[in-house]
Symmetry: C2
Subunit: 687 residues, 2 copies
């Protein structure tokens, strides 16, 4: 790696490689260069993040329109760090001029918690006398402190401690043996860690005490499985091979596949960022989305007892979906022919680090794309589909989130998220009543009710930046049975409601009307339907935020109050719960609520807009989810509506196609069925 990096730096300096695409994440060399500039100017600081300061949109749109002539947006680093004494600084570095163009120190804000921040806490709690005392009270000998573990979470917000001191809460566990899962042995107290002092400043101790679980370990690793009868032996391999390679090309970080073109970015907070998504519609490269990302999420837990109200992790804003991303393994996380991209970050010392194989890009068979048989003559077409998947997986302490951005040949973009990993657990005494706030998933283990609410940021660019969002509800027609306008009572239609201002756009899901939202370019009508070219958001897993208005979560996660908010585009509005999320009090609410309230009547009709969509699931755990949870999938679609003048996938080669005249004439039939498929009986492919 060191050699690779040297080579990369060298070739960049000597101009032997193309400059990075303006959307490219900062390279290791750029990160180190930015850190060096800060270090020179400011001395030793703790680096929290060095990431791409994304090009301002107007400038970027000009460049995208004419990359040969237009001014190339500069490479700028966005730096966040902590100066000695604990104050946070933000800086912008012009990487070409090698200058600091902005530098500011802020009070009362806390940047996210890095993996390095997290790692420290466990070591501190194990040595803390008061924590040891609590462990002993829980039934763990003081000599067993190496068997005590903690998942350090940012404190969220606790009014007793405010926002000035950087804090983490340590969710405590015990492991009888180092290979045991600690989530079956939760402890009932919660130390508070001061990152500045590097010590435990408080312990929250519940009134009802719950000694450490005496149940036997509940594990998922091979030794346990072997002891309980061993692994299944009846799963025969399924091999997925691509002998001629993949159907996409990679130019830098731009992927070209089946008329789609997309730039694949990555940052420490959002993880994958997809930019400048276009579709080549018979020779015309049509813009669809300027930028797509999962921009925030919150996981509120529903147990009202102190201090569980603090459990509402903003996994992206407080920890970073990029920082927590997994290094993926071939044939394991993905199968087939894989293209990986690495991710470059900064560590606390200002050195660049790399997560190898952070992003996986691969294709999968997508089953039947379309089919029709004519019942008269058995003429038939069967065309199989293909999909392109751009994915990453991040581990947020106990949970894993597998994020799949999926491109389809029919013009749809799908976001699928699989939730797996391990439930967050709390201790319970034998016979204790969960009061409906959780489920005993294993003796002595209470898994609390929770929600996973994600915020998808959609920056539409439907044939240009001036777009309008409509709410679409499926409704019966006016008039009862027997009326002149609806004599048979069967009339129904799509009611479209235009959002003209930001405040009009604050809307919830309505399952009863199968509500969807259309992002439309009202300046361009479909030649056949005469309706505006559009992409429709089809999302069916849209629970409301269950914590009540005025609650801590409601205040801090303002984005989750509605399924949809639409705002006018502003360069700095990327993160829906604000830029620095840990220890925000929610007073005022950061992110979307401040943008909305700053100008609720701001016009969003036929202008550059952003649609923020909150979706997710409410999870009432059950024993099936433990000791490790089978992946629970959820999905949503962005579908072209009146965007194309016909099915854009008609030119995907069919597997089999016969027309009536071919059937009569007995020739000309297209038969491209896959010859690798076999009958179970062993016979070869047949028609």
């Amino acid at each position: 790696m060191a050699l690779d990096r040297l080579k990369s730096v060298a070739s960049h300096l000597t101009g032997t490689v193309a400059p990075p695409h303006p959307f490219d994440p900062l390279s290791n060399a750029e990160i180190e260069s930015a850190a060096q500039i800060i270090r020179t100017a400011k001395g030793k600081v703790a680096y929290n993040a060095i990431t791409l300061w994304e090009p301002r949109k107007q400038e970027m749109m000009s460049w995208l329109a004419d990359p040969e002539q237009a001014k190339r947006p500069k490479r700028v680093a966005d730096v966040v760090g902590i100066v000695p004494g604990g104050k946070v600084f933000e800086a912008l570095i012009d990487l070409e001029e090698k200058t600091i163009t902005k530098y500011e120190e802020l009070a009362g804000v806390q940047p996210l918690i890095t993996m390095e921040d997290l790692q420290i806490v466990e070591h501190v709690v194990r040595k803390d006398a008061k924590v040891i005392e609590q462990c002993v009270l829980s039934g763990i000998p003081a000599s067993d402190m190496d068997k005590v573990y903690c998942d350090p979470w940012t404190i969220g917000y606790d009014h007793r401690f405010g926002s000035d001191v950087r804090l983490q809460q340590a969710l405590m566990y015990y492991r009888p043996h180092m290979d045991d899962s600690q989530y079956s042995f939760p402890l009932d107290f919660c130390p508070i860690f001061d990152a500045g002092k590097q010590e435990i400043i408080h312990i929250d101790i519940p009134e009802v005490r719950r000694p450490v679980n005496k149940a036997k370990p509940n594990n998922y690793h091979p030794a346990t499985i072997e002891k309980e009868g061993g692994y299944r032996k009846d799963i025969k391999p399924i091999n997925i091979t691509q002998p001629d390679g993949v159907s996409f090309t990679v130019e830098g970080r731009v992927i070209n596949w089946q008329n789609w073109k997309v730039h694949v970015g990555f940052n420490y907070k959002e993880g994958i960022v997809l930019n400048n998504i276009t579709y080549n519609d018979k020779g015309t490269e049509r813009p669809i989305f300027y930028r797509l990302s999962l921009a925030e999420m919150v996981v509120p837990y529903g147990n009202p007892e102190h201090p569980h109200q603090r459990k509402h992790a903003f996994d992206l804003g407080e920890y970073g979906g990029g920082y927590m991303t997994n290094s993926l393994a071939l044939g394991c996380d993905c199968k087939g022919a894989i293209h990986y991209m690495d991710a470059a970050f900064v560590n606390r010392a200002g050195e660049s680090t790399t997560i190898k194989n952070a992003i996986c890009i691969h294709e999968e068979d997508a089953g039947i794309l379309f089919k029709h048989t004519d019942f008269r003559d058995d003429s038939v077409i069967v065309t199989r589909g293909r999909k392109l998947i751009i994915s990453h997986i991040f581990t947020a302490a106990n949970y894993e989130y597998c994020v799949y951005w999926i491109f389809h040949q029919d013009g749809a973009v799908q976001l699928e998220i699989k939730l797996t990993g391990i439930l967050n657990t709390y201790s319970m005494n034998a016979g204790e009543d969960t009061k409906g706030w959780g489920t005993e998933v294993y003796p002595g283990v209470n898994a609390h009710n929770h929600q996973h609410l994600f915020c998808l940021r959609i920056d539409p660019n439907i044939d240009g930046p001036n777009n309008t969002v409509f709410q679409v509800d499926a409704l019966p027609g006016a008039g009862e049975v027997g009326s002149a306008e609806n004599p048979y009572g069967n009339a129904f239609y799509a009611k479209k409601t235009k959002y003209s201002t930001v405040e009009e756009s604050l809307s919830d899901y309505d399952g009863a009307t199968s509500r969807t939202w259309e992002m439309s370019n009202t300046n361009k009508l479909n030649p056949y339907s005469h309706k505006p070219v559009s992409y429709k958001l089809v999302s069916r897993e849209v629970p409301g935020l269950l914590p009540k208005p005025g609650s801590l979560v409601w205040k801090r996660a303002g984005f989750a109050r509605h399924a949809v908010h639409v705002t006018k585009y502003h360069d700095e509005q990327i993160l829906p719960a604000g830029r620095h999320v840990p220890q925000t009090s929610g007073e005022p609410s950061r992110g979307i609520p401040e943008w909305v309230t700053s100008n609720p009547s701001e016009g969003i009709d036929n202008t550059d807009v952003v649609l923020w969509h909150t979706f997710g699931i409410t999870h009432f755990p059950s024993p099936e989810d433990f000791p490790i949870m089978p992946a629970e999938p959820m999905t949503l679609l962005l579908r072209p509506r009146n965007f194309f003048s016909k099915n854009p996938a008609l030119d995907v080669p069919p597997s089999y196609c016969s027309t009536p005249s071919q059937i009569l004439g007995g020739k000309g039939v297209v038969d491209a069925t896959d010859r690798e498929s076999k009958l179970v009986s062993g016979k070869a492919c047949c028609k």
Copy 2:
């Protein structure tokens, strides 16, 4: 085939093969035997259906519990036909005694329309003078009647004609060339065909006339694609191979896969019927569902103008999802190693017919089943999942429905339906206003709004037949922020509402509470959670019936009035819109409404119940859906909740697994990653 059949008959007669499983569909030999018995007794009749009269449940449960000792349910054929003069008869044939045990002639009912019934109409309309006259008026020369086509639909119900005369409505189209898609050339009039007289008895002619479309053909077959630039050449093959064969075994029609056992039946109306679904939970074969099927569907169209109110096909009850099923092709409809099952039916003459490869059974890779990485030490487990898919595809005139019953290793059963094929279209004049009831998807082509509403029949057997259904809503806890019971306002829980009587169970979907329904055995509690063992219906595509109360569709498709109805089990209650659906007036409503109103207070708590679930989509067409529609998927899940005491898939071998001690010790790591996967760069698999 003839030889095969003789052999099968012979071996059955000589006792060299095991008798059929009581759930097995009738064999060709059994069908012919039943027809012969009727023929001998009643002379020449027109056969509409000969299908298995399913064993009565009580008898069948006894046999399933003890197949060696209990009395084997008899093979009985359920025969429907039409006697000369047009009356419908129903008969039951004891195939062992070769006797007619029931025979009844019915007035005022019409059995479904068979493919043979459908095929006739087009020939008749082409020769009918009044139809020719209308074609000429539409701009089609009388000499071009061979270019006139029709999709014959049952008339549904038209009060002018009632139910006594067997009728079809002919949706008319024109094909300029025999290989053109007629759906771009709809005609504006609608002949009514009398199946008894074999002639057109009426033509519905709209007030506003719309001559045949003058637009150029809009096709999807190769000649057109070649003319418009040809097929894509950049799709590289993805091969899916199973060198060691499949992971399931087949015994008769019982499939054994990954602890699941299921009998795969098939009938002419519902298509696939899954019976006696059990899961082997560490040696105990636990019943889960007695029977699962898609039992009915309705596709109401939303244009209020006459005669479009008649467009609301009950594709299963009026035509038969089995009768319309496709013969599937290897490497085309499914990839990998495939096991097919054929379907046997009767034709009008009483001969048995066979649809080869009617059911496809195969496995697919299912991506990550579960994963967790410990952030402290990078110990990790990644386990990939597998799924078993039992599918068929049926063509309902213009549309195709691809039905996938999917079994997962985590205990979930998924039903996925893909809609593809071609939109039903109607003609429109240039500049005509669709008034919101449809979309001009191509010049002169109006695709009307419609819904696809399916009725899933679930006969639960959750650790036994006595089950109870609960409605589950995710709700905030009581008490506002600051209250004693909910001080932080974050409390939320699953509110469970028991359905004690049939009328209590009539319920709609509520997206705001993420409503689900649990089928529980309240006599058996999970050992850890102490909650009843359950399966949960998770379904998110649940639009209401948009035609109004009192409308024809509302009256005829009573099952679609609610998302869920729960009834007490009765052997004869299989088909939710009634046994003979064509030309029912809806007065009274057949099927579920009659069962509900016959005894609304019937108890359904802790007894043998059936849950009927109506789900689907509302489709507002757009040009992307034409001239052939990219498959639109919809899905629902039946998930175990508190059924297992832990994740039942823990013993699926991991692709990769390392524990903390193995990482420290440097050995013992499980590495079973798929060696067939490759990097795009060509490098082999690595870790």
